[in-house]
């Protein structure tokens, strides 16, 4: 059985906690790596503030999702959207928001995409208004721009 947990002196003069994945020796692991489950020397972790799903109307409007708390800074938000008009049932794409206002999207330009989707993609490529606005207490999805292509947005908000 390998050493999985250290609580105490984790390096000379440094006290903290480290944890390894099953089968890995925590004493031999780097601070960051796939086998390091946790290390108190990290500067940040991935605590979830809130996650859920929002239903977007097919109209020009905005959906606001409150975190329920006010965070010290604008958080990382992971998003994925379900295509409203896809010929493939339950088809999703990921929308990653790392900046204060996201401007990039991985668009599912698969062969079964409709003409409207292709046109929307072009519009998004050349005229990308901010469609997700992130704040320290809420996110706002603007359905009038690129997200009119989606009827649902699933999201995960990570604590800064």
């Amino acid at each position: 059985m390998s050493n999985r947990l250290v609580m105490g002196e984790i390096s000379p003069g440094t006290f903290g906690m480290r944890m390894a994945r099953a089968g890995a020796n925590v004493l031999a692991l780097p601070v960051i790596g796939k086998d390091t489950v946790f290390d108190s020397r990290w500067l940040a972790s991935s605590m979830i503030v809130v996650s859920g799903i929002a239903t977007l109307p097919n109209t020009t409007s905005a959906i606001t999702i409150s975190y329920g708390v006010t965070l010290p800074s604008v958080p990382v938000v992971l998003c994925m959207g379900r295509l409203r008009h896809s010929s493939i049932a339950n088809s999703w794409m990921n929308l990653d928001t790392y900046g204060e206002q996201t401007d990039y999207i991985t668009f599912g330009g698969n062969q079964s995409a409709t003409r409207a989707q292709a046109q929307a993609f072009m519009a998004l490529t050349y005229d990308p208004p901010p469609s997700i606005q992130k704040f320290n207490n809420r996110i706002v999805f603007q359905t009038k721009s690129r997200y009119q292509e989606f009827d649902r947005i699933a999201y995960i908000v990570l604590r800064p």
């Binding site: 979830i48 992971l78 994925m80 896809s86 999703w92 990921n94 599912g108």
Partner: protein, 112 residues
């Protein structure tokens, strides 16, 4: 040196494990100052991988052990675009528009 780890009762008497960020006293820090709090959910990668060198328009099937919910899945293709459709709560089909690797990661969060 700051107190970094609490294992036991906090000031309110609740039993928990907390680890604060470097330089923060775990006994006085807020939740935003914590790296770990046993009362708070953490984002976890359940599984991840890559389908290398997939030709444009082709698909790859992805499945995972049933979780009791459809999980949030991150997908990424360095070239072109990528989409995914869930065929059940523990299976999905990934598509890419152009020849590319398809990366994926399954999280412990329900997609909804």
């Amino acid at each position: 040196m700051a107190n970094r780890i609490l294992l036991g009762a906090d000031s309110g008497g609740a039993l928990k494990l907390r680890v604060s960020k470097p330089g923060v006293n775990v006994l006085t820090g807020s939740l935003n100052d914590m790296l770990l709090d046993s009362d708070e959910p953490m984002l976890q990668v359940i599984d991840s991988g890559v389908f290398p060198g997939v030709s444009g328009g082709q698909t790859r099937n992805l499945s995972w052990a049933p979780l009791g919910f459809a999980p949030f899945i991150y997908i990424y293709a360095p070239n072109g675009s990528i989409s995914m459709n869930y065929t059940s709560d523990n299976a999905a089909v990934l598509r890419t528009s152009s020849s590319s690797a398809m990366y994926w990661a399954i999280f412990n969060v329900a997609r909804g």
